[in-house]
Symmetry: C2
Subunit: 555 residues, 2 copies
Amino acid sequence: MTKRAKAAPDDELVFVPLGGAGEIGMNLNLYGYGPEARRQWIMIDLGVMFGGDDTPGVDVIMPDPGFIEEHKRNLLAIVLTHAHEDHIGAVGHLWPRLKVPVYATPFTAALVRSKLEEEGILDDVPLHIIPLGGELKLGPFELEFIDITHSIPEPNCIAIRTPLGTVLHTGDWKIDPNPMVGRKTDIDALRRIGEEGVLAAICDSTNVFVPGRSGSESDVAASLEAIIATCKGRVAVTAFASNVARMQSVIRAGAKAGRHVALVGRSMHKISRAAIETGYLKDIPSLIDEESAADLPPHKVLYLCTGSQGEARAALSRIATGEHPHVHLGPGDTVIFSSRVIPGNERLIHQLQNDFAMRGVEVISAEDHDVHVSGHPARDELADMYSWLRPQIAVPVHGEERHLMEHVRLAKSLQIPSALHAPNGSMVRLAPGEPTIFDEAPHGRLHLDGSVLTGRDDSAIKERRSLAYAGYVAVTIVLDQRDRPATDPVVICAGIPDDIVETARQAAGDAQDRLGRRFDDEKRAIEEVRRAVRREVQDAWGKKPVVKVEIARIG
Amino acid sequence: MTKRAKAAPDDELVFVPLGGAGEIGMNLNLYGYGPEARRQWIMIDLGVMFGGDDTPGVDVIMPDPGFIEEHKRNLLAIVLTHAHEDHIGAVGHLWPRLKVPVYATPFTAALVRSKLEEEGILDDVPLHIIPLGGELKLGPFELEFIDITHSIPEPNCIAIRTPLGTVLHTGDWKIDPNPMVGRKTDIDALRRIGEEGVLAAICDSTNVFVPGRSGSESDVAASLEAIIATCKGRVAVTAFASNVARMQSVIRAGAKAGRHVALVGRSMHKISRAAIETGYLKDIPSLIDEESAADLPPHKVLYLCTGSQGEARAALSRIATGEHPHVHLGPGDTVIFSSRVIPGNERLIHQLQNDFAMRGVEVISAEDHDVHVSGHPARDELADMYSWLRPQIAVPVHGEERHLMEHVRLAKSLQIPSALHAPNGSMVRLAPGEPTIFDEAPHGRLHLDGSVLTGRDDSAIKERRSLAYAGYVAVTIVLDQRDRPATDPVVICAGIPDDIVETARQAAGDAQDRLGRRFDDEKRAIEEVRRAVRREVQDAWGKKPVVKVEIARIG
């Protein structure tokens, strides 16, 4: 194992995932080096994930950086592997709490820059561009960026050399022999680092349940070309905007079929600008805008649209419901979903496909056509990676618990000496000695609820889940100076059927009558009214709403 | 075409789906015969579907039977094809509105009976048992029940003979050459009816996107046996309780591996009782109860559990979270998901699998093992069915719009002369003349919200969706006899972060002050306060809560 500098006797090399080791999303990886009292840290990636039905009203969720915030004086940098939201999406929100330099390759930097601009902190953030294959020294850490392939331009593995050994952080990856856009995987570099000796591989687990290989963007390109060649009417393709190779394949397939291509949706434009700015998408025919496309005959048009996940405000949903100002599809036209279904989005996507079906539009998807490949390594690719690196330790990341566990099993079956299941918050000592989880760092989630960033156990979000289930009854009791009711209780309900609203009103009135003069013990009276309303509503409706009672006193 | 009686000149044969032709679930099919003024009807199936995230707090959804309720004097019967909830689940809720005889084969009748018992209407409902392969005359309709295979005992195709031709209503089906429990598909009968001449086939569309064949329960049995034979610790298998063949396969595989089998979960017991009562599950070893199983060594135990969809109150979820009183799984134990993932349940099921992974329990699922087959026909099976029946008309049902559309395309490719996309509410004239949708029947959904059965556009459920997104502010303004505020406004919030609650309170107070004496125009005042609160909260939070304002007057 190459050791650049000599390790001091009490030096330790530590890995701490605060996000991404328990979910696929919101990656935040920390590497620490040095004796505990003077440990220096680098952060790899700082991403978000999207809110779901268990967090209603929350757009994005990010890792709670509290642990590293406490050590921010010893945090040297944030280093980004690639530009997907689950790796860069929290930079704009959390950088102000950390205030350290940010490093990224050119395409990633271009997208981070536009994010920081939106947050109004572009001028504050020291954002440094690392060339592809570049190197970077940060305190005791020597970083080397290694080309790999994924579903976005410029994904990087990062080799992190320390006096106690080298860690290879894979980032998100696959082995695409023909990625269409950007460089191929630098297998020689991975082998070379393997030869040098790898202490630990911290590796993507997303597709650990998928046998075989993920396939190539070039296969999708060929398949799209064949399908689009046979289409008669208008064609709309939807894909993840960040997949620039896919964007290029669709544009070329359209051109080959004699169609003019228009990008539809904000992020398609944003990403294509960033791609062109950083030297990608050079050999494509010129695009037209969606207004001009509307004037062309159907067989001359191809739209490349955002909204493959059924997002309500994205281009494709608006086209499906007929609300898009310029793009209209009907009988004879075709929509191609060149994308996967992110778990949790099934119903939205199927609804979108049903809307198109109702308009007589033919729907083609990865369900029955080869129009998508994953950007993550299937099992044979994982085996390749481990054969190149031959690490002493495997620590799976980028997965739910079930993925991490399966990845540990796989690594063991591949004869990796140690494989560790290290969920979020695990403080893993990689060296010296046997790898071990020696402590747990505070960890959790922050929810962006409107403009408010709240903790995971946020009571407002929990309460909204209860409201969704059984609605709300707010009761106001008005008392005079002598603690006697001055009006009927005011009962304001939401989300409750009309008959049951009557029940609630009646229950509150009865409870007020029953209490009579016993409002001097305000707390007890409130509790009694609350319980009476909940009980009566439960009896009538079978469900218990959230009930809150307040007392107003006259002058 | 066999015509039993002669059709009168103004007779028509009409098909109207009120549910199931637009969703996979809540099937309700109507067949009408006769001239419009004296048309007689039969209903095939009366099912529910389960509520989702767009209907928070709603357990089940069923078709609005309003159209046939209006014609209930001419409704002859409800005929059930098989016992799945999406075919029988609404009988208990909607029979009181229809009050007609119900017909079913023995196993289906046993489960309907227990449903009616729960609703307390068992004695009211004339429930008639039809033998397998039996016949039934209902007014102008002559029905023949034909054995087929599915994922539950006693699925039936129903041949409906009328003076204007024969309709073959497939119900839910597949072609399982070795269904393990119950009879095989009566292919001879289907061919015979095809020979007689079939006017229309009304056919299952669920798996129209799936190429090939669905596979056999016997393959799953072999696979389960092989997997369970290699397990070392405790084994828990989860499957749909209604799949009695699967239940038998799991029990036998357990016994073969020297394990005692315990059923865990209410519906496992309920269905096994109904199965034994009607002559199934005869050749299985005796079962033990879950308490006794807990005392056996791990390699001697197999649990067959409810909860494959991640349902929070079902056995498997309680085992995963360690809350089950008798069943405990840990390192060395195995859970087998012998089931599919119903779209929309992905996150719940993955959470369950993650919980097991965290306990060190190995999870095996259809994702990477052959432990499940579908009960619905894949494309080659559909082609077989059409080759036997050779109908004049194909009307796909049991599918979302995208399935119905694809099924129409498939039927056309199989040279069926007419294939009709007839979504819910379509009034399809099958004969005489060209098949055509000649009108639209009122149709929709009823939501069971607690104990209240409400219409689809139910405002309470809609409002709860808004509450889930942005919470609730209830404002009470107390006025004295001269229309002047007698207290500060009472502001009761739910689901809103604390800082924003302050904003709302302040906004209501300011609005009350601004209004001063202008509370005589109560409506305008209320609207002004409401708007002010919404605006201020939106400015501070970026989201608009539901805001309601009421005025209390001191007497």
